[in-house]
Symmetry: C2
Subunit: 398 residues, 2 copies
């Protein structure tokens, strides 16, 4: 049974039935006066939920709390702030996260244990709880509040990242929505990313977990901005069941579409980035090696800087794949920039330099490698490395 998947115009995390959101400007980040920085996402029907968290050994307080709560049950709401990561903040940080959840629960009228917490921003600074307390009361939840939430979770992001798809398959119809933030500290195994996904499909918890893991593996786990990961990374999927049961494969397909869209939006909007880089590795001995090779190339500072300057220095791509730890036989490698063959069977091909420079100047640059050793294939996304990235990150706190 084929599923029809279409984008929802102005789709967001509150596009699925029964989801509400709202945000306010709490002044958590004093340097971004007036910016929305505190938000709530709420489902009027109880949710089954699944989440993936950072692999970083340093875990932010809100993440520790959310991880515990998700083990015990579902999730009815999420409260999230930007401007302060509430990480490396010790016992006080945990108390702050718990208080945020409690105040949110009281405002909505649900149990504190059903509220998850997420934060993003500077590490090592305590949350200004006085402001958080007085601001939480001011948040007004609405059916199209997803757009406000998408704004509220932005830090150095230049664009809000949100989308939704509507799926029709047989007699059933359901929606999946999502918002995300990214920008810096983005690398496979999650990243400084927050992503909230919602659906009105009725999905069993075990399947929801597997579906999320699978979707994240081909999307958020295939993007890299700078090789760093953060203590706050979290991808959460809430399913409230209001649209009834749906076929597993249609759900998986739609979820991967939403996640890939958001992941690419994050890569494209990396700190200081001027373009999206897409690296596809085919012919690897297996899928794991294809993934690893694609991720290594898209993460290479030298490759990223060369593409930033539209410099056809393809040797750096060869060098990056060579150090990826993946099996590579130089005399078998094919390399394309866009559609232009640059290396065939390990031999440099004569190419029109102007043509390549033109391609590299585009807003999207595609690099493909065929290792010609097996059938493993994977795609990774990243962005160029610009002077602006350094400028942003050399005065983030000061």
């Amino acid at each position: 049974m084929a599923a029809e998947i279409e984008s929802v115009p102005q789709g967001t995390v509150t596009s699925p039935e029964g989801f509400f959101a709202g945000a306010t400007s709490a002044g958590i980040n004093k340097k971004a006066a007036g910016k929305l920085d505190l938000a709530i996402l709420f489902s009027e029907a109880p949710c089954v939920a699944a989440a993936l968290f950072t692999t970083n050994r340093i875990k932010a307080a809100p993440l520790v709390l959310s991880q515990q709560r998700l083990k015990q049950g579902g999730a009815g709401a999420v409260v999230v702030n930007s401007g302060c990561a509430n990480a490396c903040t010790g016992e006080r940080g945990l108390a702050h996260a718990a208080e945020m959840a409690k105040l949110t629960a009281e405002g909505i009228g649900i149990l504190p244990d059903d509220v998850l917490v997420a934060s993003t921003g500077v590490i090592g600074v305590p949350l200004p709880m006085k402001r958080v307390r007085s601001s939480l009361e001011q948040i007004i939840l609405s059916r199209d509040g997803g757009h406000e939430l998408a704004q509220a979770i932005m830090t150095t992001d230049t664009l809000a990242k949100e989308t939704a798809v509507k799926v029709r398959v047989g007699d059933s119809e359901f929606t999946i929505g999502g918002v995300a933030k990214g920008s810096g500290m983005i690398h496979p195994d999650l990243a400084t990313l927050l992503c909230f996904l919602t659906t009105d499909a009725a999905v069993e918890k075990g399947f929801l977990k597997k579906a999320l893991k699978k979707a994240v593996d081909v999307s958020f786990n295939m993007i890299s901005i700078d090789g760093d990961t953060s203590p706050n990374d979290m991808v959460l999927l809430m399913a409230n069941g209001l649209a009834g049961g749906v076929p597993d494969d249609a759900f998986q397909q739609a979820l991967e579409r939403v996640c890939t869209y958001l992941a690419k939006s994050i890569a494209r909007d990396g700190e200081g980035a001027s373009k999206l880089i897409e690296v596809t590795v085919a012919g690897a001995p297996n899928l794991a090696e294809a993934r690893s090779a694609a991720r290594t190339v898209v993460s290479s500072s030298l490759v990223k800087a060369a593409i930033h300057g539209a410099d056809p220095n393809w040797g750096r791509i060869m060098a990056a794949v060579g150090r990826s730890g993946v099996e590579v036989v130089e005399s078998k490698v094919d390399l394309y920039i866009g559609d232009i063959p640059v290396v065939k069977a390990g031999r440099p091909q004569p190419f029109n330099k102007r043509g390549i420079v033109q391609l590299l100047r585009g807003r999207e640059v595609a690099i493909s490698l065929n290792l010609n050793l097996g059938s493993g294939k994977a795609t990774a996304w990243g962005c160029d490395l610009s002077e602006e990235y350094v400028a942003i990150n050399s005065r983030y706190m000061t």
Copy 2:
């Protein structure tokens, strides 16, 4: 028996007895007209030799040739060029490397099999052999030619990297000299680095190999500029025995001193770098984890950019050690910037922001972490990430 180790004034790779070098400007890199770019290093007495090569699966032609020759025997001379890596150049590249060795051997009057070859520069471009042939004849070897060789192997390096130490222990006296080049594509497991080490000590081949590996592990394998490694990396140690036998421990100690000096010089002179960063991790469960943690912190783009801007964003250091894959218990971690405690037992400490900014503005920034879990300790070196790094690497070829 304690060894007295002292620096040789203006020490270089030809400081040990019996070593000669010379260089010329062959015009291999057309953009650096007049720059020395082709050099020969030669020992008048036959050498025992040991080397470490890149772990990159893509290996440059000169490296393939040198690796084969070293397996079969020793090394009497090295011919080296900058401006062209002779990598990804297929059969033709191998023929070019072999011809360079043959011409060098003929000029000196030794066997071609005793000549090793090294190259550094742009990948994927064939060597301009006509220029190489006519220029090799012009090289004049001399006892203080090491300085010319140090100049000739530079690419984006801003300073020549060379040193020598004289060691007195009991009745014996010997010298170890070395030159290196670095700059970009520098990461543990060697890097875009060439390093030639020489000694007049008489050392048995088996010990020479082990001593080199051990010295490289605490020096060149502990530096990172940008996370990339190259197809051309090579560290070569030649021992001609003219000074007679020496105690193993004195040799090891002196060799590590030379290698650490050169490695730190490379880190300090990373592309676009304005300062040296030294990261020491103590209290790791074991040595391997200490090494891994120190290398991860010194390689983090976010840490490097923050230090560039003298931004006291220490949370990024915590986040980097947290993602290093090493065992970390947040509540046990101590973090110092210079001598100033920033985190104690996982808790942020109040600190004088101006004091830290002052420290971060220095030419050398020391970061120390104690994980308080075991006795593993290691130090890694790197440099800050500047707008200039991006500028250099976005127009390397164009």
